[in-house]
């Protein structure tokens, strides 16, 4: 075998470097448009006032908003709910992560998975389930406490800001958990060991060494929880609206309802966006100033603490409390309601029936259509979203290094934008177009709101792939497309599956954006539950169980493929 010209490369077309530049750049442009479109629409709409002779530039919407006591009332309630949720989730999430990562609690591998389950469930269904559990006088828990223990729980009212905080905490704890469990695991044991060897007690070490080292992770998690939980529409709709308690997402929703005031709603949205962006900038600056090297990769992994006696009991009680409140009790309540012909606050086996399911799945057009719509949105949306995200992740990790940081910051913006505000933006954009109340506009809104989750998951995996793996493919004669197909995509596969399932789950349960964009024939499962909640809790519960099954199937695939959620 001597060299005589060798095996020549095939002429794979004349695109050269063109495709590898244009495709990722296009995905970034699409991402920016998806954010800028609704944002600009909201800004412009908030500055317009419809007079006798058409729209005029005016600050009337903002003046009206700021002179309305209901605005301040809603703002205060929302900030209280968001801040309380943040504090409780940080406490609960950190404790759970610490117990799983740093102790020898029995069954911790199971709890590691179980702690994530609420991340995959619908907060709206969670809120409904907690109504079944704790509604004044008719809740299951009230009944159990009264008949079995002779205790009256009637003082507890789930329809309150406290109720909202409780359900939000259950759903946002996994965010904190995901943010801190990695750093807790990978922290160099020497940091803690040095403190202990030099005479610090366990609690002193926790307070002065472990927690301070976790501050970047806790700060990021806290901010995300504050911003997203305060912007979540689902829970206030179920728990605050019935009592007329005003909160930001539900206020915006009612401003859009007849007689709608889109200008005022847009002004409200802009105020929320400004606060969100300021908070995000603050957090970026804070983390930029302090550098921590907890993740050393080298050194010893921290030792696991041996739990016994009271410590063990406390750890197990914590898990039982969280899994019970976040998963077991709501699911039991949901099943009971869905199998009851008429829900009266207690489950009777002799009146159990599958009538609700029969009606919802086979006899009622609205619910059937809703299930089809949701599946369609989730399947198509997750696929398109992931395709977009792969290219964006390519840009963020392999593209022009000078523009990467800016693009990264831009593409992360939707992470903090409440669904209802993005929905409002797309509503304003679509309102007088053929897109109005179509599945397409809902799909676009879904992708716009959630693509950063997928992009970050895939980009994290991209970072772990040595670029030389791609470069040697190119030098071996493969074109950019061949390299993507034969080398990059197979290596990214775990993260692509994870991102796809994440989007699927989010799209199946989305409510905040959908509630403003749906129309007749484009209802989703979540929207239909809201519509039916006035009529029959049985149908709602049956529909919620159908949704739950879809979500749990996705979760199961997620665990089976052994992919991991990368922190967003």
């Amino acid at each position: 075998m001597t060299i005589g010209g060798g095996v020549p490369a095939r002429d794979a077309g004349r695109h050269g470097r063109w495709l590898q530049v244009v495709l990722p750049a296009t995905s970034v442009v699409i991402g920016v448009l998806l954010i800028a479109g609704p944002f600009l629409a909201t800004v412009i709409r908030s500055l317009l006032e419809w007079g006798a002779d058409g729209p005029q530039l005016s600050a009337a919407n903002f003046i009206g908003l700021f002179s309305d006591p209901r605005f301040y009332n809603a703002a205060v309630n929302t900030v209280i709910a968001g801040a309380s949720t943040m504090m409780l989730s940080l406490l609960l999430g950190f404790s759970l992560a610490w117990v799983v990562a740093r102790t020898d609690m029995p069954g911790r591998t199971w709890f590691e998975t179980l702690n994530l389950v609420p991340f995959f469930l619908s907060p709206y269904v969670g809120a409904l389930s907690w109504i079944y559990l704790l509604a004044p006088h008719s809740g299951l828990l009230q009944w159990v406490a009264r008949t079995w223990f002779g205790v009256s729980l009637d003082a507890i009212d789930i329809y309150s800001v406290a109720g909202v905080v409780w359900v939000l905490t259950l759903f946002y704890t996994p965010y904190v958990y995901l943010f801190v469990i990695g750093p807790l695991r990978q922290m160099d044991a020497a940091f803690e060991d040095a403190a202990r060897v030099h005479g610090a007690s366990f609690w002193y070490t926790m307070r002065h060494i472990t927690l301070p080292l976790m501050i970047p992770a806790l700060l990021s998690a806290g901010l995300i929880v504050f911003v997203t939980s305060a912007g979540l529409f689902d829970v206030p709709l179920a728990l605050a609206s019935p009592r007329g308690i005003r909160m930001m997402p539900t206020e915006i929703f009612s401003l859009v309802q007849y007689p709608s005031d889109l200008g005022r709603a847009a002004a409200f949205g802009i105020v929320v966006l400004i606060v969100t962006i300021l908070l995000t900038l603050l957090q970026r600056r804070h983390i930029g100033q302090r550098r921590f090297d907890t993740v050393t990769g080298k050194g010893y992994r921290p030792r696991r603490i041996r739990l016994k006696g009271k410590g063990l009991a406390a750890a197990l009680a914590l898990e039982v409390f969280y899994i019970g409140g976040g998963v077991v009790l709501p699911v039991i309540a949901l099943l009971m309601v869905s199998f009851s012909r008429l829900w009266t606050g207690r489950f009777l086996l002799r009146t159990a029936s599958i009538g609700n399911f029969d009606y919802v799945l086979t006899r009622y057009n609205l619910t059937q259509q809703a299930i089809v719509n949701s599946l369609e949105l989730a399947l198509v949306g997750a696929t398109l979203g992931v395709a977009l995200s792969i290219l964006q992740a390519y840009y963020l990790t392999r593209g022009n290094p000078r523009r990467r940081a800016l693009v990264d910051a831009l593409l992360a913006l939707p992470l903090g934008i409440p669904g209802i505000i993005l929905g409002l933006g797309f509503l304003i954009l679509a309102i007088r177009t053929p897109l109005y109340s179509t599945l397409t506009i809902i799909l676009i809104a879904y992708i716009a709101r959630f693509f950063p989750f997928a992009t970050r998951t895939i980009a994290a995996m991209f970072l772990a792939i040595n670029p030389e793996l791609e470069q040697s493919a190119r030098s071996s004669g493969a074109s950019w497309l061949q390299t993507m197909r034969l080398v990059v995509l197979p290596l990214l596969r775990p993260s692509i599956i994870a991102a796809w399932l994440m989007l699927f789950v989010i799209f199946i349960r989305e409510l905040g954006a959908t509630i403003l964009l749906y129309g007749q024939g484009t209802e989703t499962i979540s929207v239909t539950m809201v519509i039916l909640s006035e009529r029959s809790s049985g149908y709602v519960a049956a529909l919620a169980v159908v949704q739950l099954v879809l979500l749990l199937v996705a979760f199961t695939i997620f665990r089976l493929t052994r992919t991991s959620i990368v922190q967003a």
Binding site: M1, G6, E468, L469, S472, R474, S475, S476, G477, L491
Partner: protein, 369 residues
């Protein structure tokens, strides 16, 4: 013929931001020859290799491979990597973890559209050549580092490229394996007759593999020539220091009557006689650097006390050899000798031959090392 040159690099410049990683570098490689780009980390040697492969886009210059202009900034010629028809072996090996050993090796043939049976046959043959016969169906992640290195090598050669690039290809192997691979690579190159460019920071690797050595410093060519010339007659202080010579400051005190040598006063007391570097004229009083290999500093135990007697200031045992620092009238000289059990404070006689000293003008010192 061979001198016509196979790879031509002219005025290559590559910047990262304001930093010129490669600054106006030119050199040629003759067909079938081996060139080593040698230098400390950050000197730009890997950047040159990546520019050759089309993995970086230079700011200026031209690159010609096998008679084809593959890069010319002014004429907007910039071939994508896959059109440059070469093979590359990375320091990380870049063996694809999701493919078997045979799939890795057959990849260049696959993307060239060769039918499966044919390409697997060729991959097997190439695996045999690199000593990995029978490994075809192993997952690529289940082989050792040395074997991954061979897979990467087989992959770089399987499509019979005329130019193969090696980026620190041997650096991750342990010393014994590195030695062995070096010899095998030389044999393989004799057989397959490809042109090779190695990037390395290891002198032994560069001299062991290459016909021509290019020593790089801060993005420019410090010195270039045949391996022997570059090694024996360092032409700059940087080269002398990089190759581990003693480099001592001094002044020319007298030009010797034979015209071949000069006398250099190293400090108040010690004066040595040495040869100026090629083509350099040194007048009396010129500040110079006197350089000598550690191996050429002759020392032996002595009880006599005269001008050529020094004291061991430090000694360390390196196994076969012994390295020590000799204090010769206030001048510290490093010397390497077969181990004879010297210890701090021992008195030794120092022998220095005037032909072993290389005298460089001090002004040509540039950069740091």
């Amino acid at each position: 013929m061979a001198d016509a040159g196979f790879v031509h690099i002219r005025n290559l410049t590559k910047r990262f931001g304001n930093h010129a990683a490669v600054n106006d570098v030119s050199f040629d490689v003759a067909e079938g020859h081996t060139l080593a780009l040698l230098g400390p980390s950050g000197c730009g040697k890997t950047t040159i290799l990546r520019c050759l492969a089309g993995l970086e886009t230079p700011e200026a210059g031209t690159i010609e491979i096998a008679g084809r202009m593959v890069f010319d900034r002014t004429r907007h010629v910039d071939f994508v990597p896959e059109k440059r028809e070469l093979g590359i072996v990375f320091q990380s090996y870049a063996v694809w973890p999701h493919m078997s050993v045979a799939e890795n090796v057959a990849f260049p043939l696959k993307v060239r559209g060769m039918p499966r049976a044919e390409r697997l046959k060729r991959a097997s043959r190439m695996l045999e050549t690199v000593g990995l016969a029978g490994f075809e169906d192993r997952p690529a992640t289940l082989v050792s580092g040395g074997q991954q290195q061979r897979i990467a090598l087989a992959r770089a050669l399987v499509h019979e490229p005329r130019l193969v690039l090696f980026d620190e290809a041997l650096s991750n192997l342990d010393a014994q394996l590195r030695e062995q691979m070096r010899l095998e690579l030389r044999l393989l190159q004799e057989r397959l007759r490809f042109t090779a460019i190695y990037v390395t920071h290891d002198q032994a690797e560069a001299f062991g593999l290459a016909d021509t050595v290019v020593l790089m410093n801060h993005g420019t060519v410090e010195t270039m020539g045949s391996a022997r010339d570059v090694f024996h007659r360092p032409s700059s202080a940087f080269a002398a220091r990089f190759f581990g010579l003693n480099v001592l400051e001094g002044r020319v005190s007298r030009t010797a009557p034979d015209g071949q040598h000069v006398e250099v006063a190293l400090n108040g007391r010690l004066t040595i006689r040495g040869r100026p570097a090629d083509g350099v004229n040194l007048a009396e009083g010129t500040p110079v650097l006197a350089c000598i290999r550690k191996e050429y500093v002759g020392i032996e135990r002595s009880d006599v006390q005269d001008d050529a007697t020094g004291t061991i200031a430090a000694a360390s045992f390196l196994g076969v050899a012994e390295e020590c620092v000799v204090d010769l009238q206030g001048v510290m000289l490093r010397a390497t000798r077969p181990a004879i059990g010297l210890a701090r404070g021992d008195r030794v006689r120092v022998a220095l031959s005037s032909d072993d000293w290389i005298v460089l003008p001090a002004s040509n010192e540039r950069g740091d090392l």
